[in-house]
């Protein structure tokens, strides 16, 4: 009996545990063996997992495609930078910031939490309107929100530096600092998806009318998910800005949005495992394409390179190719399966049911 309980616990925590453990092994390997380039390539993958998880918490559970989430990463990225940057720089360059922000010198890891809170508040305000719209209108409205945020952040010179990038953003620490926040994002997403809110939201994703008839307040569930996904985007944006060390609003704009959505869709938008699979698969393909754009030297000394811009075109084609073969993405909405040895045999499952009822 004790053993059964253990196994059933294992079944519920296996997916995030398995994913995090797998990523930890690779991270350790990269840290020990990888060159600087490989390490930053992998760190960027870990950060993209945070960001795609942010998209996933809303899109995956609600079925509503919200394109604008990069805006929350932007909000978070700037909050983290403002709080943690050197005071002197802020007093000279960012004269529009309130005094207490100018003089603030918060530890980077702490300012990640502030970034999450700020992004969550932004998501609450925007989400309260957006989740009441029908699916297509909601998608367009989130997109419009991204445009608005980008315009504001690109032009509000006294606060964001405008077109001139913010520099001297401190670093969060090594590869493991990003890893910890990535693990946190996966755990949050998993807890939400297993929670009563997550279950109700996934029900409404499958059939909104039946969900209403079942007494589910679809708006409320969507709003909860929207705020949570906004917070995780804020976290991702903050960690990303620490990773880059330099920030403009365009970092969190169209090309990032496109890349993250390709990752989500290729991996499978309806499972957390799909997030990880999609980020890793697309990052690898796009890295190969990027190297292709840089070109390789042929033995005779000529350079063979893809024309510039091919990276994104081929990435789009790659996505279409995956979707033609697997419309629900690589994982088809299923989660990481529990290794056979740990699975409960079927008879024990039904025995448990009888004792429980």
């Amino acid at each position: 009996m004790q053993n059964d309980k253990l196994k059933s616990l294992l079944e519920t925590v296996w997916t995030p545990f398995g994913l995090i453990a797998g990523l930890a092994v690779v991270t350790l390997f990269v840290q020990l063996m990888g060159t600087g380039t490989v390490q930053s390539f992998w760190t960027e993958i870990l950060i993209r997992i945070i960001l795609v998880t942010g998209f996933y918490i809303f899109i995956g559970n609600s079925g509503v495609f919200a394109f604008g989430h990069a805006a929350f990463a932007c909000v978070g990225g700037y909050v983290a930078a403002w709080l943690s940057m050197d005071a002197m720089f802020k007093q000279i360059m960012l004269t529009g910031l309130p005094g207490w922000v100018q003089s603030a010198h918060v530890a980077p890891w702490l300012s990640v939490f502030a970034a999450m809170a700020a992004a969550a508040v932004a998501a609450l305000v925007v989400g309260a309107v957006i989740v009441r719209l029908s699916d297509i209108a909601a998608s367009i409205a989130t997109f419009a929100f991204l445009l608005v945020v980008n315009r504001i952040y690109s032009n509000w010179d006294s606060v964001t530096g405008g077109a001139a990038p913010l520099t001297n953003i401190p670093s969060l620490g090594g590869i493991w600092a990003s890893f910890v926040f990535m693990a946190g994002a996966l755990v949050i997403a998993w807890l939400f998806q297993q929670s009563r809110f997550g279950l109700m939201l996934r029900a409404s994703r499958d059939d909104e009318v039946a969900a209403m008839a079942t007494g589910i307040s679809v708006y409320r569930m969507r709003l909860v998910a929207f705020v949570l996904s906004g917070a995780v985007m804020g976290c991702g944006g903050a960690v990303y800005s620490f990773f880059l060390g330099i920030l403009t609003a365009d970092v969190f704009y169209m090309s990032l949005t496109f890349l993250l959505l390709v990752m989500l869709v290729v991996g499978g938008a309806e499972s957390l495992t799909g997030v990880v699979v999609g980020v890793v698969a697309v990052s690898c393909v796009s890295e190969v394409l990027r190297l292709g754009e840089e070109g390789v030297a042929l033995p005779n000394g000529d350079m063979l390179a893809l024309p510039l811009g091919m990276q994104q075109i081929l990435l789009g084609i790659f996505m279409v190719f995956v979707l033609i073969n697997r419309a629900d993405g690589i994982t088809r909405g299923s989660e990481l399966p529990l290794p056979k040895a740990f699975r409960k045999p079927q008879s024990i499952v039904s025995g448990e049911r009888k004792t429980a009822s």
Binding site: D206, A211, A213, T214
Partner: protein
């Protein structure tokens, strides 16, 4: 001694009730001046040919369709204009003619989520779902994805889901459609037991006259959006108007 009197008074108001309801779609009447009352723990059969307005009536009773004219009362409260979720919260559950399961969730989750929406804890909703699934004969299908179930099991799951939120009134829209005779008989056994086992009243839409007659305390016959007859099954059976309306539909199908 005042208490029993007050109790009688509340009981008299306890009902899901529409009065003189009409529903117009683009000026065309789908329902015209229909009154219907479902009291606690009774089974009322709603019959009529296709297009008679049965589903529209269920939509009115569950907040999915606002009546153009007429009133809707739930246990004495004016429920006109309530959202479906609010009506559901006040004790009225329904099933759908077209299934409408949560296709990608498994069977247990489909039932469990209804209990959760009605305020139970996850574990409590799970226990309730297990019980109800057992009653409708889906105990061995917990882990199956709802969309992959055979058609008749989907109908059963739809009923189980409605029951999991512990409704006081349950409205079943052609639950036996597409079932074989023996499956239908089994299902009717379950429906017959609902008032006793779950303490809920049933509005049953069903085409098989033999079945409805044997199950229902009262019958309500619609045709062309109007009430043709209502009353005890024996009374209704005697009516010529009903038989021709109904038999006409049988032939037309």
């Amino acid at each position: 001694m005042a208490e029993p009197l007050a109790e009688t008074a509340t009981r008299a108001r306890e009902a899901l009730e529409i009065k003189h309801v009409s529903v117009l779609f683009d000026g065309l009447a789908a329902i015209s001046d229909v009154s219907l009352r479902l009291a606690p723990r009774e089974i009322v059969g709603l019959v009529g040919p296709n297009g008679a307005g049965k589903t529209t009536l269920v939509n009115v009773l569950t907040g999915f369709q606002k009546p153009t004219k007429g009133t809707l009362h739930l246990d004495g409260a004016d429920a006109r204009g309530w959202s479906p979720a609010r009506v559901r919260g006040a004790g009225v559950a329904r099933t759908f003619q077209a299934g409408r399961l949560f296709k990608k969730l498994d069977v247990l989750e489909n039932a469990q989520v209804a209990g959760i929406a009605s305020g139970l804890s996850k574990a409590g909703a799970r226990r309730r779902a297990q019980d109800v699934l057992e009653q409708v004969g889906l105990a061995d299908a917990h882990d199956k994805i709802a969309g992959s179930l055979p058609y008749t099991d989907q109908r059963r799951l739809d009923i189980a889901r409605a029951l999991c939120s512990a409704p006081k009134y349950i409205l079943l829209d052609e639950p036996a459609a597409g079932m074989s005779d023996s499956e239908c008989e089994e299902l009717m056994g379950i429906i017959r037991s609902l008032p006793a086992v779950h303490g809920c009243a049933v509005l049953l839409i069903e085409h098989n006259m033999h079945v409805v007659m044997s199950l229902s305390d009262r019958l309500h016959v619609l045709d062309g959006g109007r009430t043709i007859i209502e009353g005890l099954p024996e009374e209704v059976q005697k009516h010529e108007a009903f038989l021709s309306a109904y038999l006409g539909a049988e032939v037309a199908e």
